[in-house]
C-alpha cells in the first residue's frame, strides 16, 4: 500500500519540454487514470514513476519517501507495458515466475502465488505455451499476472487494453476492476480512451501537452470541465463550442451568441458574475440540446432556438443531428430514434441552462467560481 505524489515535475527531451510543472497525488489504494491525447506525455509520466526515465526537476514520493534516485529495480512497483513486453523465450509460467525468481522467493510460496495468479486470470492450461502461442487477450492477462504476483505497492498500466477488440476490452475492463477491488492496489492507469477512463477510475487526471488540465472523479470531469481542453476531450459526441458575450438582459444572465441569447440557470448565473461583460466561449454537449414538440417540456432555464437540420448520423439508440443556426453556426445534438426530424427543416430545440459550460478565451479555463 502506498500513495504516489508527484511534485512540480519537469521533463524534457533534447530541450523540448514534455512535462511542465506537474503535480499530482494518488492516494493509497486509489485507481487513477492518466487520460490525454497521443503524445501528451502519459507514458513518460509512468516511466518516470517506474524509474525507467529520469526526472529533470521536481520530486517523486512513494509512501512518503523520495524516490527520484532509487533505481527501477529497487522500486516496489510493477508495470504492464502497452506491448506487454512478455519475454518471448519463456513460457507463460516462466514469465509469471520471472520476478519471483529474481527476488529469490521460496519455491513453495512461488508455487502458491503462481496457482493464485493463473486462477485469478483464467490462464489454467496455458502454462507451458510461449507468448506467441496465445491470443492478445491472454497475453494481456499474463502481463497482469506477472505484475501482480510480485505483490507490488503500486501497479502501473500503460494502455494495456489498446490492442484488444471492443468485446475483449469490455471484459478486460471488468476484470481489471475486479482485480483492483480484490487486491486493493494503488493503480495508475494510462489511456487515451475516455470510456476506459470513465468506467474504471476513481479519479481521472486529464493531461494535455504535459499539463494537468483537471484531476477529479469521472463524473466531475464530465459535469464540470475546468478547462476548454477537458470540455472538448471528454464526452462523445464532442461538445459544441460557440463564442459570445456574457451579459445580463432583464432579469436573466446569459450569453449573447449568434444563435441567440442562451440563458444560464440561477445557480450558474451567480457563479459567473465576476466575468460579466466579457467575451466567452460557450460549451454545450449534444446531449444537452433536446428536441421536443411538447412545448410544455421546457424549463424556465431552457433556451429555445431554431436550427435547420442538415445531416443525420445513426448512433444506434439515438441519432446525431448536425444542424445549422443563425450566422452559419453548426450545432450537433442528439435526437431519439422515434423523433421525426426531416432534413432541411427548421426545428425548435431547447438548450439546457443547467448544463452550459462557459470558458474564458484567454485563460481557456472555466469562468465558474
Amino acid at each position: 500500500m502506498a500513495d504516489v505524489a508527484l511534485s512540480h515535475i519537469y521533463k524534457s527531451y533534447d530541450g523540448n519540454p514534455v512535462i511542465a510543472d506537474l503535480s499530482l497525488t494518488v492516494k493509497s489504494g486509489e485507481f487513477v487514470t492518466l487520460l490525454g491525447p497521443s503524445g501528451c506525455g502519459k507514458s513518460t509520466m509512468l516511466r518516470m514513476i517506474a524509474g525507467l526515465e529520469s526526472i529533470d526537476k521536481g520530486d517523486l514520493y512513494i509512501a512518503g519517501r523520495r524516490y527520484n534516485d532509487i533505481p527501477a529495480q529497487k522500486r516496489r512497483l510493477a508495470m504492464v507495458f502497452q506491448s506487454y513486453a512478455l519475454f518471448p523465450h519463456m513460457s507463460v509460467r516462466e514469465n509469471i515466475l520471472f520476478g519471483l525468481k529474481i527476488n529469490k522467493v521460496a519455491p513453495a510460496l512461488m508455487e502458491e502465488k503462481f496457482t493464485w495468479a493463473i486462477a485469478l486470470f483464467g490462464l489454467t492450461g496455458l502454462e507451458r505455451r510461449l507468448p506467441k502461442e496465445i491470443s492478445g487477450g491472454q497475453r494481456q492477462r499474463v502481463a497482469l499476472a506477472r505484475a501482480l504476483v510480485l505483490d507490488p505497492d503500486v501497479l502501473l498500466l500503460d494502455e494495456p487494453l489498446s490492442n484488444l477488440d471492443a468485446a475483449l476490452r469490455e471484459s478486460a475492463m471488468e476484470e481489471l476492476k475486479r482485480v483492483h477491488r480484490s487486491v486493493g492496489k494503488t493503480i495508475i492507469y494510462v489511456t487515451h480512451n475516455q470510456v476506459e477512463a470513465m468506467s474504471m477510475s476513481g479519479r481521472i487526471a486529464v493531461l494535455a501537452g504535459g499539463n494537468l488540465e483537471q484531476f477529479a472523479a469521472p463524473q466531475a470531469v464530465y459535469d464540470d470541465p475546468q478547462t476548454l481542453f477537458t470540455a472538448g476531450f471528454i464526452g462523445s459526441p464532442p461538445m459544441n463550442f460557440l463564442t459570445g458575450l456574457l451579459q445580463t438582459r432583464g432579469t436573466e444572465t446569459g450569453i449573447a451568441t449568434e444563435v441567440g441569447f442562451i440563458i444560464l440557470d440561477k445557480e450558474r448565473q451567480v457563479r459567473c458574475v465576476a466575468s460579466l461583460g466579457k467575451k466567452v466561449i460557450v460549451g454545450i454537449r449534444p446531449q444537452n440540446i433536446s428536441y421536443t414538440d411538447h412545448f410544455s417540456a421546457r424549463r424556465v432555464s431552457d433556451t429555445s432556438i431554431t436550427l435547420k437540420a442538415e445531416l443525420f448520423e445513426t448512433l444506434g439508440d439515438r441519432n446525431l443531428v448536425v444542424a445549422r443556426g443563425a450566422g452559419d453556426t453548426v450545432l450537433r445534438f442528439l435526437m431519439k430514434q422515434d423523433d421525426d426530424i426531416l432534413p432541411d427543416r427548421q426545428v425548435g430545440v431547447f438548450i439546457d441552462g443547467r448544463k452550459i459550460h462557459v470558458f474564458d478565451p484567454d485563460t481557456r479555463k472555466s469562468i465558474f467560481k
Partner: protein, 302 residues
C-alpha cells in the same frame, strides 16, 4: 480461341523458384569435387626415390602422422580454436554491448570498432611483428624506458616471438583483434532485434544488470551467438596469416601446409595435412549442428 493459362502445380513452382540457383550450385559442387578429389589423389600418392609416382600409397599418410611437427601443429591449431573462438565471442559480445549502450554515439562508436577489419591482415600482422621484434621492437624499447614518458621496467630485451607460448599468444591476439568487428556486428544485429521494453520490464521486476544479461540478452541472442561460434571456429581452424608472420617455428596446420609444399616440396604430405584440416572442419560443423539441436531442446520449454 481464348488463351489458356499455363497451369503450374505448387511443387513444380517450388522447383522452378530454385532454378536460378542452379548455375551457382553446379559451380560450387563442381569446384568442391575437383579440389577434394585432387586432394585425395595427392594424399594417397607417393613419389619414390626414382621419381615414379605410386598410387595408391599410404606412405604420405604414415609419414605425416609419425612426424612430431604434425603433432605439435595439430595441438597448436586445437589451442587456437579452443581459446580463440570463446575469446572472439566474449570480445565481440562486450563490444556489441558497449556499442548498444552508447545511445547517441552509436554509429560513431560502431564505425571505430570496424576499423580493424579495414586494415589488411598482413599489415596488422606485420605491425605486430615490428612491435614485438627482438631486440629492437617498440615494446622492448618501451619497457626499457627508451621512450621518455615511461620508466624502465626491463634491463634486457625479451625475445617475445622466441617463446612458444608468447609467439602463439601474440598471433592469436592479432587474429582476435582483427576479426572482432565481425563477431561484434553479428551480435549487435541480434541485440538490436530485442524489444528494449523487455529490459524495462525486467528492470521493473527487480532484475539487475547481470540478471538481465543472463536471463534476457543471452537467451534471445542465442542464434547470433551460435552463428558467431560456428563462423569463428571454422576461421580458427584454417587460420594462416597471423601464425605465419608471428609464430615463427610454431606451426599451425594452415602454416604447416605451406611449409611442406613450398619449403620442402612435399606435395603429398601437404595434401595429407590439408585433408586433415578438411576433416576437422567438417567434424566441427557436424558437432556444432548436433549441439545446436541439443540446446534447442534444452531451452524449448519447461
Amino acid at each position: 480461341m481464348a488463351f489458356k493459362p499455363f497451369k503450374i502445380t505448387p511443387s513444380a513452382r517450388r522447383l522452378l523458384e530454385l532454378w536460378p540457383l542452379f548455375p551457382a550450385a553446379v559451380y560450387l559442387i563442381g569446384f568442391l569435387i575437383v579440389v577434394v578429389s585432387y586432394l585425395f589423389a595427392l594424399s594417397f600418392s607417393f613419389a619414390d626415390e626414382h621419381g615414379v609416382t605410386i598410387f595408391p600409397s599410404f606412405e604420405s599418410l604414415r609419414a605425416v602422422f609419425a612426424a612430431p611437427e604434425f603433432n605439435s601443429a595439430f595441438v597448436n591449431t586445437i589451442a587456437f580454436v579452443a581459446v580463440g573462438t570463446p575469446l572472439e565471442l566474449i570480445v565481440g559480445l562486450a563490444l556489441a554491448l558497449l556499442v548498444y549502450r552508447s545511445f547517441h554515439l552509436r554509429n560513431i562508436v560502431r564505425s571505430i570498432f570496424i576499423i580493424p577489419l579495414a586494415i589488411p591482415a598482413l599489415v596488422t600482422a606485420t605491425m605486430l611483428f615490428i612491435l614485438f621484434d627482438f631486440p629492437g621492437g617498440h615494446i622492448n624499447h618501451l619497457l626499457m624506458g627508451k621512450y621518455c614518458f615511461l620508466p624502465a621496467v626491463l634491463h634486457n630485451p625479451i625475445n617475445w616471438r622466441g617463446v612458444k607460448l608468447l609467439a602463439l599468444g601474440i598471433a592469436l591476439a592479432g587474429k582476435v583483434w582483427r576479426d572482432m568487428p565481425i563477431s561484434m556486428l553479428i551480435l549487435l544485429a541480434g541485440l538490436n532485434a530485442i524489444d528494449p521494453e523487455l529490459f524495462d520490464a525486467a528492470k521493473t521486476m527487480g532484475a539487475g544488470l547481470r540478471q538481465r544479461l543472463w536471463r534476457i540478452v543471452v537467451p534471445l541472442i542465442l542464434p547470433s551467438i551460435s552463428t558467431v561460434v560456428l563462423l569463428r571456429s571454422l576461421e580458427m581452424w584454417k587460420e594462416f596469416i597471423f601464425p605465419f608472420i608471428l609464430a615463427g617455428q610454431n606451426n599451425l596446420l594452415g602454416t604447416l601446409i605451406e611449409i611442406l609444399y613450398n619449403n620442402w616440396g612435399n606435395a603429398g604430405e601437404a595434401a595429407v595435412v590439408s585433408l586433415t584440416l578438411v576433416v576437422c572442419i567438417v567434424v566441427t560443423a557436424l558437432v556444432y549442428l548436433v549441439f545446436i539441436e541439443f540446446v534447442k531442446k534444452l531451452t524449448a520449454r519447461r
